[in-house]
């Protein structure tokens, strides 16, 4: 809207009088003149408006998010059977860890395991030191137990990923509340289908030895399955990945 120095436009008034008057040629000229002015004004207005749109309406900001750049690998080939094999046992050093690992070890030795390499993590909140990873990677398969809190879940998932990358089939025990977190760490380490056996939380902190024993007695058969299942069945039943989707149902 164009405005005169008086604060409002005379234009409609002029239009009205010129149209009504007999001097139509004058009106035509005036019309041409105002159209010319209008078109320049409009172009200017449009230009400044579109400029504003670029600056304000379509503001682009740089994404602050991290991006995952790791090539995922499939789980390692499982064993045909545990009979005659050497099984590595990595205890995460949580309270009741000895109870849970004891039950697993007992079950596996009844299934004919030849020998065990038993290691306990020195610091529960960190990944295992290289020396322990080196000892364990000599085993035919490895059981990691267990993850039931924040930092120990992170550390244990990192350990399992490293051991799978070393080429050893593994399985880990994780409590229900931390399965989704475990799965995300697994995915970030490039091993999205790390096999895990999930136990109802709690198992270590906040659980008595009797509670832990009762829960642990239910899992040895699953541990054996996760170490011996063919690839497709393994993913179907034990992949950590599915716990991200299952989380909302917990």
């Amino acid at each position: 809207m164009r405005e005169s120095i008086f604060g409002f436009s005379f234009e409609p008034l002029v239009h009205y009088f010129l149209q009504k008057s007999a001097v139509s040629s004058l009106y035509e000229n005036f019309n041409k003149y105002t159209t010319a002015i209008n078109s320049t004004k409009n172009e200017e207005e449009e230009f400044s408006l579109s400029n504003k749109e670029v600056v304000f309406r379509n503001t682009s900001i740089l994404s602050p998010f991290g991006e995952l750049r790791v090539e995922p690998i499939e789980p390692r080939q499982r064993l045909n059977a545990v009979t005659g094999k050497i099984i590595g046992l990595l205890d995460a050093n949580k309270p009741n860890g000895d109870v849970v690992m004891g039950i697993i070890q007992n079950y596996l030795s009844q299934r004919g395991v030849r020998d065990f390499i038993s290691e306990v993590k020195p610091v529960v909140t960190r990944p295992a030191p290289d020396s322990i990873i080196k000892k364990l990677s000599k085993a035919d398969a490895i059981v990691l137990s267990f993850a039931d809190c924040g930092s120990c879940t992170t550390g244990l998932a990192m350990d399992q990923a490293v051991l799978e990358r070393e080429g050893v089939p593994t399985v880990a025990v994780v409590t229900s509340f931390f399965a989704a977190h475990y799965a995300r760490i697994a995915e970030s380490m490039g091993t999205p289908h790390l096999p895990i056996v999930v136990v109802e939380h709690p198992l270590g902190d906040g659980a008595t030895r009797e509670m832990a024993q009762k829960k642990a007695e239910k899992i040895p058969r699953n541990i054996l399955e996760a170490l011996t299942f063919p690839a497709n069945d393994l993913k179907e039943k034990y992949s950590a990945r599915k716990w991200i989707e299952l989380r909302s149902e917990l």
Partner: protein, 375 residues
């Protein structure tokens, strides 16, 4: 152009989804936002690009100005940030620093903080994913802190200083927005603590009778950044009129049940006001070393008390040999050097602050600030 990046859960319990974003001409992911501040804030909260407080939109221009204060290339990788080990480039850090409200000249301090946190002994993946409380706190020591307006005097552990507020916040925002540490998602702290928004302050340089902390660490000519896994603080009011009396109270305040250091002894921080520091010198000529030794020897609790509290059953108890006997005294520090002592606070009053930590599960790390890229 469209690019896919690692999904983020928008609300707790929602299923995973891969979010697609546009990229600019150089292939950098960008997000379209509205200019209106309120809508912009809502949008950034919605896509989890905020700590809950409003942020400054990281436009290319603002990020560019931040990058001018670094000697490093924008694409250079500083570290892989847990829990998901995304590669943190200098540019991504600058983006988060802009969002936090940092001035470009703060950027070298933030880079130094990440250089410090990447040390394995700091155990960053443990700190941010634990069900406990810790979060990296930043202590800056040296002339550059004063140059950029960091607070080391009145109320320096609290609000009111842009540099303190936004440098600490830049660290938190990077961990939340960039690294994905949303509560219950990337970070599992049971209750967390307010220091997670920001805990960043400078050491008092002029009104400080002792050797400054950067000099103590061997960086006399540099400004240093020290990161500590802080989990709470307690302000101590010194009512008695003698230095020894004050020290006894400090020891008792430091050695309390329920802290991580009760079962995993380690680093603790002691912030003393300039008046307190001077009083230590005038009343008995206490040096820093003597105070550290005193605190190491006296910040202890009886083993029988802690064993009654249940630390006996915890497999991760890391007491030194000899402390496990029922009638022994358990130290909260592993050695005198575990006490980080800095002078900060107003010049008027007899107050100290103990900053509790995650104990022996994380070591404090000190790094010099590289200001050579500053224009």
């Amino acid at each position: 152009m469209k690019a896919k990046f690692r999904s983020r859960e928008i609300t707790f319990g929602e299923k995973e989804r891969v979010q697609e974003v546009e990229t600019d001409d150089e292939g950098r992911p960008i997000i379209e936002v509205e200019p209106d501040v309120e809508n912009l804030y809502s949008k950034l909260c919605e896509i989890q690009a905020s700590d809950g407080l409003p942020v400054i939109p990281p436009t290319k221009e603002r990020v560019g100005r931040m990058l001018e204060h670094s000697t490093m290339d924008a694409t250079e990788i500083i570290m892989k940030v847990p829990p998901y080990f995304y590669e943190l480039t200098v540019e991504k850090l600058a983006i988060n620093a802009v969002m936090a409200g940092c001035k470009p000249e703060y950027f070298p301090v933030i880079i130094a903080a990440f250089e410090a946190m990447k040390e394995d002994k700091f155990n960053l993946q443990g700190i941010i994913t634990t069900t406990a409380v810790p979060w990296p706190a930043i202590i800056v020591s040296g002339p550059y802190a004063q140059k950029i307006g960091m607070g080391s005097g009145y109320g320096c552990l609290g609000p009111g200083y842009r540099a303190n507020a936004t440098i600490g916040r830049a660290l938190t925002l990077t961990l939340i927005t960039f690294a994905g540490c949303y509560p219950g998602f990337g970070t599992h702290s049971t209750q967390a603590w307010p220091g997670r928004y920001t805990l960043c302050f400078a050491e008092e340089l002029e009104d400080n009778p002792w050797k400054s902390f950067n000099a103590e660490k061997g960086f006399e000519n540099d400004t240093t950044v020290t990161v500590v896994a802080a989990k709470g603080s307690l302000s101590i009011c010194h009512l008695r009129d003698d230095a020894l009396g004050w020290l006894k109270v400090i020891c008792e305040a430091l050695a309390i049940p329920g802290t991580q250091t009760a079962y995993v002894p380690g680093v603790n921080c002691l912030v003393v006001s300039p008046v307190v520091a001077k009083r230590f010198l005038s009343d008995g000529n206490w040096t820093k070393e003597e105070i550290k030794k005193f605190v190491y020897e006296n910040a202890r609790l009886p083993a029988k008390l802690l064993l009654d509290h249940g630390w006996a059953s915890a497999r991760y108890r890391a007491w030194p040999k000899g402390s496990n006997a029922y009638d022994a005294m358990v130290p909260f520090l592993r050695s005198p050097d575990d006490l980080i002592m800095v002078v900060a606070g107003s010049p008027t009053q007899n107050y100290s602050t103990v900053v509790y930590t995650w104990g022996g599960w994380s070591e404090a790390v000190t790094k010099p600030v590289d200001i050579s890229g500053r224009k």
